[in-house]
Structures are given as structure tokens and as C-alpha cells.
């Protein structure tokens, strides 16, 4: 299959596509972002001691702001434990956030006169990483898919018809797979069911939390192409969370890089992958395995574990592992800046800000080049 190869060599660039104008669910038009997230924060308390008091907190997601444009795929990458999944759960309101606001197509979520949680969940759905545990083992998959519409008041027969139609859309024959149980399906088939389940409420946005990470490469390619097909035909917008840089490059229009609960870089996929501005992004990209044996990595570009999110470093959180760290990095945390523009490429690093006081500040060249000079 040619699709498989395209993932490896990745010469194919998806075009930035906008949502078709005729979508009746659209409110603000194409210029208005589908989702705006403002200063979202989630600290998990650490309790302990005899009286179960609050001893500290894990800063899982800290002041995260970004926007998702209509019809785009926003990839979110980062190391394990950097807060990607917490962010997904916060967006779905599966866990409450400490502070921050969320605006869905111009309407504030969960506020008076805004969009209710129930309405948000109609418009935004999620596909989980573990395809097995996200399906009820006691329900035939057809009923799992029909459950969402049933909850929202659809008649049983109608919900079943919706489920069968979706099974067909995700490439599984309804008459063959509809009455099966999850344990009778393969991982890829289960993930297709999960996608169908997420689509059952006819949402406008899908959050895919490591949706293909647990699948093997060929099945990954099938599911990724299915996602692209569905996006075009159902007018969807994706937030695609993954630690797999190649997959994110393949499917995303824009990419957001997270480190220790903060956004460190955001920009169009080409800009990020060819000229990363943040040293962390550059290191992440260099740590990708290369298919060319002549270009083997002698040692990992990023060594050690990320610092403890309970007690993150002062200033820039990446400075403890950064090759360019200076005094200013410990003093002040670098700002990311506004990024509503779809072609804007921003990084939270003192080196990209001209007046930050960093010796390499204001450099137009990517840090990839700077890295070479310094070594």
C-alpha cells in the first residue's frame, strides 16, 4: 500500500483546509476559531499526612492558551507526562479546571448564557488511547455506538440506524460487526468502533488522545487515512494528541509543543518541522529515529527525565536540560505571545525575543543552527 510509505518518507503535505461554508452548525464563519482556550490551568493536589491535608500540587497544565481553527488538525506533541492527556480531559470537561476559559465557536462553555456542558459534548467528542478499555466489554459494539444518541433522546431504532451507518463509514460491515463484542475484534477494528462512537453525536470537533499510538504501523496508517477521510466528509476539526512526531507531522496542519504542562511552541507543521524555534522542539525532532543507517544517533539529544512537575524550575521550565540556558532563563519565564493567526509561529524562548537579554536573543535562524555553532 502506498499510504504506508507516505508515513515513512512523509513527502506529502496536507493542505490547510477550511470548513465548507455551508455547514448549518457554523455560527461565526470561517474566520472565527472553533475553539479558543484561554489560560487553562490544572494543579492536582497531593494529599498526605494524618489529616489528609494538601502538601503540594502537581502542575499538570499551567496557563495553556491556544486556539483551534475551523477545519484544521492541531497536533499536540510532547514527552510522556507533559500534560497532554490532562489537557484533553480538561477540554472535554471530564475533570474540572482550576482556572481558565474555553470558548467554542464564540460561546463561552459552562457559563450562564453560554454553551452548556451537554451542548459542548454534542459538539466535541473524544477518542481514547486504549481501544480495549474504552469499549464496554458487555455491550455489542453497535449498542456502544448507539449509546450517545440514546442518551440525547433519540429513539432506539433511529439510534441503531445511526450506529449502522457509522459502522459503514468507518469501514466495518454493519451486518458482520454490529452485534459483536469488543473482545472479538482486533485493536484496529476496536479503534474504528471508538471513532464511530465518538462520531455518533455528529460532533464538529474530535479530540484524539493518542488514538493510534497503541496500533501497529500498518493499522496506524489505515486509521490515520480513515481519519482524514472522515474529516473531509463530515466537516470535522481535530485536536490530535500524540508523542509520535511522524504521525503528528503526517496528519496535522498546525502543531503545538508542550513541555511540563506549558506550551513552548506553536506554529504551522512545516515551519515547526523544518525550522523549530524552541530548543526543546529541536531536540525532540533530532531524537526521532532515522531510517538512514548512516545517520545513526550516537547519543540521545535529550538526556535525563523532565524535572519534577511538583516543583518546576524557576523561569523557563526547560532550562535544566537546555544547551543555551543563561542567567535570564532562570529569572524570567519566556512569554509565548498571541497566536490566533493560522500562519503564526511562536516559541516561548528568550532566544526568539529580541529584547530578552539572552546573548543569542533575536536570532532569526533556527536553534538547530545555533546548536551546531555552540558545539
Amino acid at each position: 500500500m502506498t499510504e504506508d510509505k507516505s508515513i515513512v518518507s512523509a513527502p506529502f503535505r496536507p493542505k490547510l483546509e477550511a470548513v465548507r461554508d455551508e455547514d448549518p452548525r457554523d455560527r461565526g464563519g470561517n474566520r472565527q476559531p472553533l475553539l479558543i482556550v484561554n489560560q487553562l490551568r490544572k494543579y492536582f493536589p497531593i494529599r498526605g499526612g494524618i489529616f489528609n491535608h494538601r502538601r503540594g500540587e502537581v502542575r499538570a497544565v499551567d496557563s495553556v492558551s491556544f486556539s483551534v481553527l475551523k477545519g484544521e488538525t492541531l497536533g499536540i506533541v510532547g514527552e510522556s507526562g507533559c500534560g497532554k492527556s490532562t489537557l484533553a480531559r480538561l477540554l472535554m470537561h471530564l475533570i474540572p479546571c482550576d482556572t481558565g476559559e474555553q470558548i467554542f465557536d464564540g460561546e463561552a462553555v459552562g457559563e450562564l448564557r453560554g454553551l452548556s456542558l451537554r451542548e459542548l459534548r454534542r459538539n466535541m467528542q473524544m477518542v481514547f488511547q486504549d481501544s480495549s478499555s474504552s469499549l464496554n466489554p458487555r455491550l455489542p459494539v453497535e449498542q456502544s455506538i448507539a449509546y450517545g444518541p440514546r442518551v440525547h433522546g433519540m429513539a432506539r431504532a433511529e439510534a441503531k440506524a445511526v450506529a449502522r451507518d457509522l459502522l459503514d463509514k468507518v469501514g466495518l460491515r454493519p451486518e458482520l460487526f454490529g452485534s459483536r463484542y469488543p473482545h472479538e475484534l482486533s485493536g484496529g477494528q476496536k479503534q474504528r468502533i471508538n471513532i464511530a462512537r465518538a462520531l455518533a453525536l455528529n460532533p464538529r470537533m474530535l479530540i484524539l488522545d493518542e488514538a493510534v499510538s497503541a496500533l501497529d504501523k500498518s493499522v496506524q496508517a489505515q486509521v490515520l487515512n480513515l481519519l482524514r477521510y472522515l474529516k473531509r466528509h463530515l466537516n470535522l476539526t481535530y485536536v490530535f494528541i500524540s508523542h509520535d512526531l511522524s504521525v503528528v507531522q503526517y496528519i496535522s496542519d498546525r502543531v503545538l509543543v508542550m513541555y511540563l504542562g506549558e506550551v513552548v511552541e506553536i506554529g504551522p507543521v512545516d515551519a515547526i518541522y523544518t525550522a523549530p524555534k524552541h530548543p526543546y522542539t529541536a531536540a525532540l525532532l533530532r531524537s526521532r529515529l532515522n531510517l538512514n543507517p548512516a545517520e545513526r544517533l550516537a547519543e540521545a539529544p535529550l538526556s535525563g527525565d523532565p524535572p519534577n512537575p511538583i516543583n518546576p524550575p524557576s523561569g523557563c521550565r526547560f532550562r535544566t536540560r537546555c544547551n543555551f540556558a543563561e542567567a535570564v532563563c532562570a529569572d524570567r519565564s519566556p512569554a509565548l505571545g498571541e497566536h490566533t493567526n493560522r500562519s503564526a509561529h511562536r516559541a516561548a524562548c528568550h532566544m526568539v525575543h529580541a529584547d530578552s537579554g539572552h546573548s543569542l536573543s533575536g536570532r532569526a535562524a533556527s536553534v538547530e543552527g545555533a546548536h551546531g555553532q555552540r558545539n
Binding site: 486504549d130 440525547h152 463484542y181
Partner: protein, 301 residues
């Protein structure tokens, strides 16, 4: 390079179409497995026979179970129409065993059913809500756990006095803690799984999630454990009657019959052992049937 976007779902289907296999529903799978399990079927038949005998006792018992006869005390098995002999008051053993099945089955099934409903509700509530609710319910349950079950049953029915009703209440109270704990544990496990999160993400209420997703997965272990408790309940009820705390004479009950006949163990050992044999067969049947059900109901095996 081919255009990847042109890939559509129907094209993907070719690589994935599975061979046409017969798809069975859950109930069909369970019955199919049970039908091929002769041990479970046999003991299920034994339970049905005992239950049928208990229901039809007035018609099938050869004698009045409470009619005493001083001339026929402690006669051996097969003595003059007394198929299983007579007890210490000259009453027909077979008739008393058939009538005794009534009390034993009532004492075995009622407390288990009641405790499953009450304990299951408490456990699912505790497990699903977690936090403070969980702590309150489970700590109260733990208090009951601190006592050995037999001692607790004896203590409760001892304080409230004898009789079937008090015996049933005592047994129900004894069985609530373990059933509650099982319901709580399985619910806590199920609650943390992604499909519950996914159900919540689709906007479902807690009640709907519990009914459609939690109960279906938590009910199987609860049901299986409860069915194994039936034999324990019969034994405990027999024990209560043995101590004089359960059924009051002259009502026939296997436990009390065993208790009253034990003085005659050297006179008519076979006859004296009969109530014990009845208890043994019944509890063994319930145990093996519950084990067979557990195997048949495990869809993933």
C-alpha cells in the same frame, strides 16, 4: 505519489473483511456453554428436584411430618413403610426431610437475595461516588466485618430471639458486608475504565452510566459470589437451628433435626446422618452450579 486523500472508507474495507462467522448473542453463548457442561446440568437438576419436592411437600410426603408415634421411635431405614426410618419421636424421616427442604431453601435463598440487593446497592453507590460517600459506607460495613460471620449471626438472632423471621434478618445482616465489598471493588475498577469516561463525555447522567455500563460489568462477580453464599446460608441457618435460635419445634428443619438426633447417633447412626446428608447435597449442588455459571458467564474466556 498517489493522493492519500482519495482513500475512502469502502476501499479500506477490502483488507479488513473477516470471514462470515455465526455471531452469537451473550445469552446464546451462555446457554450454549451450559448445555455442554454435564456436571453443572446434573447438579442444576438436583436443585430443581429438591425445590420441586419442597413445593409439593403436602402431596408427596408419605406421612404427616409432625405425627409422633411412641411405638416407632428410632427405627432403621426401610422399617415397615418408613422408607428412611423414624426419628426420636417416631416421626417419619422422609416426610420430615421433604418438609425440612422448605425451611432450608427459604433460609438459604431469602437472606442471599436480600443481602445482594441491599449490599449491591450500597457497594455500587460507594464505588461510583468514591471519596467521602465511599468512606462512610465502607467504614460502617467494616464494623460488621470485624466479627466472624457465624458469631455475628448467633449474636444477632440471640439478641432478637429465635424464630424464622429473626433468623432471616440475622443472616441478611451477616451477608451484606462481603457482598457490599465485592460490589464496591468491582465498581471502583469499572469506574476508572475509559468507557465510563467516554459515556460521561457523551453527556450521560450518573444513573444512566450506572445502569448501562457499571451494573452490567459489576453484576457478574456479585451474582456469582451470591450464588456461592446460598450454601453457606443453608449451613448457617442449620447452625442457628442447631443452637435453637432458628426454627422453633415442631417445624421440620434439617439443622434442628440434626441437632435433636445427635443424642441417638449410637442407636441409629444412618438415620441420624440423613439431615446432614441432605444439607451436604444441597450446598454442594449450589456450589457446583455457581461455579459452572461463573465459567459460562465469562464472555471473554
Amino acid at each position: 505519489m498517489t493522493d492519500v486523500i482519495s482513500t475512502d472508507a469502502p476501499a479500506l474495507r477490502h483488507g479488513l473483511s473477516a470471514p462470515d462467522i455465526k455471531v452469537r448473542s451473550y445469552l446464546q453463548t451462555v446457554t450454549h456453554r451450559l448445555r455442554h457442561d454435564p456436571v453443572t446440568l446434573f447438579f442444576l437438576a438436583v436443585i430443581l428436584i429438591i425445590a420441586l419436592a419442597a413445593i409439593c411437600a403436602p402431596w408427596i410426603a408419605p406421612f404427616d411430618p409432625n405425627k409422633t408415634g411412641t411405638l416407632y421411635r428410632l427405627k432403621p431405614i426401610g422399617f415397615r413403610g418408613f422408607i428412611l426410618g423414624t426419628d426420636e419421636l417416631g416421626r417419619d424421616m422422609l416426610s420430615r426431610l421433604i418438609y425440612g427442604a422448605r425451611t432450608s431453601l427459604v433460609m438459604g435463598l431469602t437472606p442471599v437475595v436480600l443481602a445482594t440487593v441491599i449490599g449491591g446497592t450500597l457497594g455500587v453507590t460507594a464505588g461510583f461516588h468514591g471519596g467521602r460517600v465511599n468512606m462512610c459506607i465502607m467504614r460502617i460495613v467494616d464494623v460488621f466485618y470485624a466479627f466472624p460471620s457465624v458469631l455475628l449471626a448467633v449474636a444477632i438472632s440471640g439478641t432478637m430471639g429465635g424464630g424464622i423471621q429473626n433468623g432471616l434478618i440475622a443472616l441478611t445482616l451477616v451477608f451484606i458486608p462481603p457482598l457490599c465489598r465485592i460490589a464496591e471493588t468491582t465498581t471502583t475498577q469499572v469506574r476508572s475504565l475509559d468507557f465510563v469516561e467516554a459515556a460521561r463525555a457523551s453527556g450521560a447522567s450518573s444513573a444512566s452510566i450506572i445502569i448501562h455500563h457499571v451494573l452490567a460489568n459489576a453484576a457478574a462477580p456479585l451474582f456469582i459470589y451470591a450464588s456461592s453464599l446460598i450454601s453457606v446460608a443453608i449451613l448457617l441457618a442449620a447452625g442457628l437451628s442447631f443452637l435453637g435460635l432458628g426454627v422453633e419445634p415442631p417445624t421440620a428443619d434439617w439443622g434442628m433435626m440434626l441437632s435433636n438426633l445427635r443424642q441417638a447417633i449410637y442407636v441409629q447412626p444412618l438415620v441420624c446422618a440423613l439431615p446432614g446428608v441432605a444439607i451436604f447435597i444441597t450446598s454442594l449442588s449450589f456450589n457446583l452450579v455457581s461455579d459452572g455459571l461463573r465459567q459460562a458467564m465469562d464472555v471473554r474466556a
